[in-house]
């Protein structure tokens, strides 16, 4: 499954990269293609392009604030997750999101 997402926390220096890393790593392990854009204190890192949005099966938003430029994900299934849970349980988050999307696609 192709997954894109955005991580963003308030201070933008700890949770933001930790969540992005945890999700990407979990994706690798579980065999999904994951790319997470970090909206942190230094601006945007690893920006998700429109092509990547178009190719993605699902968008994960892991943020405890409003993210920049959310409009580009319009029309895609968007899943919101607490950023803290992504840091601690990246794998479970990916598993749960994938399961939810698969169930949704079947229905």
């Amino acid at each position: 499954m192709k997954i894109v997402g955005v991580s963003s926390c308030i201070a933008g220096l700890a949770h933001t990269p930790m969540a992005a890393k945890a999700l990407t790593k979990a994706g690798e392990k579980l065999g999904h293609e994951v790319k997470i854009e970090q909206q942190g204190a230094m601006g945007t890192i690893d920006e998700i392009t429109l092509d990547e949005v178009a190719a993605a099966d699902v968008v994960i938003i892991a943020a405890d604030k409003v993210i920049e430029n959310e409009g580009r994900f319009k029309g895609k299934p968007i899943v919101r997750v607490k950023i803290g849970q992504c840091v601690a349980h990246g794998e479970e988050v990916i598993k749960k999101v994938v399961a939810a999307i698969e169930a949704k696609n079947k229905a």
Partner: protein
């Protein structure tokens, strides 16, 4: 209703994320100027306002910091509005934030102004339509006129008085609380425990926001209590890896070095990888350590002399800076010793694998 509240909280947090660099930059600049003054025996730089030469330059430099701190309400109002309605809301947010400062409505006023400006901008965008040749007038003339005008009227004429009164009363109440020894120790213990509870999660951020919001309004004691507590968990686990090396895998020892640095500069999140090893035992330990450390700092007589700077090196911005250091280090050692007694960090890998399936149920995801 719950969704609206969650959204409102996110907008507030977005506004605060823009304010953060300004607070930090401003308080650091003031602190640097003050420290240079103190090194030369001048505790008050204001006496150099009308002189010339070196100390006048230092005085001017200090004013740069105060200028940055003075921007806070304006930026907060503007970026809450920006978070709600994007660029068109900025003008009204800026103006509302400045009026909040002018009417003494402070942080509270800036928040109200930001939300009002944002929501009003969305309303105008949705409900006022101009067609034909004059349609270009809407974004540049009509919308700013309505949003800036209405936000201005609300903040200065309608709410200026009452919000100013609420804000001033609130500040006086908290000032009174931090002036009395016992109450301020209790406050420090509570704020400290909140910081330690979830290391960067919502409870931690609530305490942290209270400290910063009050700092914007010139009440510095809560920020000192929060700042020292923030350093304790990462510093504690960093020290723990040094005290009992064989309790940690190579990877964890390496993380310990990073945690030490994060403790010194004041990033609580550095403690997360360690606390995850056994949250049931370690979260209470974090709370106790932060609570004791923060309360001890205040009990030993730390007081506010300038806008406090975060991190352990922030002690120079605190009156009786040694109390800040002692509080921080005692708190860190409570974690360092406690964690080594309670948890064997070598065994954590297998434990987390077993928990994985239970965790699956706790993770909340929601679709739009």
């Amino acid at each position: 209703m719950k969704k609206t509240l969650q959204e409102a909280k996110d907008h507030l947090m977005s506004g605060i994320s823009y304010v953060l660099p300004v607070i930090i930059a401003g308080s650091l600049v003031v602190a640097v100027a003050k420290v240079i003054g103190i090194l030369f025996g001048h505790t008050d730089l204001d006496v150099f306002a009308k002189t010339s030469g070196f100390f006048h330059y230092i005085y001017l430099f200090q004013n740069v910091g105060w200028t940055a701190i003075g921007l806070l309400n304006m930026i907060l109002g503007a970026y809450i509005a920006y978070s709600i309605a994007g660029k068109p809301a900025l003008a009204a947010g800026f103006v509302g934030g400045v009026i909040a400062t002018d009417t003494n409505a402070g942080f509270l006023g800036a928040v109200v102004a930001g939300f009002f400006a944002g929501w009003l901008t969305n309303w105008v965008k949705k409900n006022i339509k101009i067609t034909g040749a004059a349609s270009g007038a809407l974004p540049l003339i009509i919308l700013p006129l309505i949003t800036v005008g209405a936000t201005g009227i609300l903040m200065s004429i309608v709410l200026g008085g009452p919000l100013g009164w609420i804000n001033t009363s609130l500040l006086n109440w908290i000032k009174g609380m931090t002036a009395s020894g016992t109450n301020s120790i209790v406050l420090a213990a509570i704020l400290g425990a909140m910081i330690g509870f979830d290391l960067g999660g919502p409870v931690n951020k609530a305490a942290w926001m209270a400290g910063n919001a009050l700092m914007i309004s010139g009440v510095y004691m809560p920020a000192i209590m929060v700042n020292v507590a923030i350093c304790i968990p990462p510093l504690g686990y960093g020290i723990a890896t040094l005290l009992k090396k064989n309790n940690y895998s190579d990877e964890m020892r390496e993380a310990g070095k990073g945690a030490l640095i994060m403790g010194v500069i004041g990033i609580t999140e550095g403690a997360i990888p360690f606390s995850l090893a056994n949250p049931l035992k370690l979260i209470p330990l974090n709370c106790v350590a932060c609570s004791v450390g923060s309360a001890l700092t205040i009990a030993l007589g730390a007081y506010d002399k300038m806008p406090p700077v975060g991190g352990m090196y922030g002690f120079f911005s605190v009156g009786n800076g040694w109390a800040y250091l002692v509080g921080g280090i005692v708190g860190a050692f409570i974690i360092a010793i406690g964690a080594n007694l309670l948890v064997n960090f070598n065994e954590t890998k297998s434990a987390t694998a077993e928990d994985a399936n239970e965790n699956l149920d706790e993770i909340e995801i929601s679709f739009d």
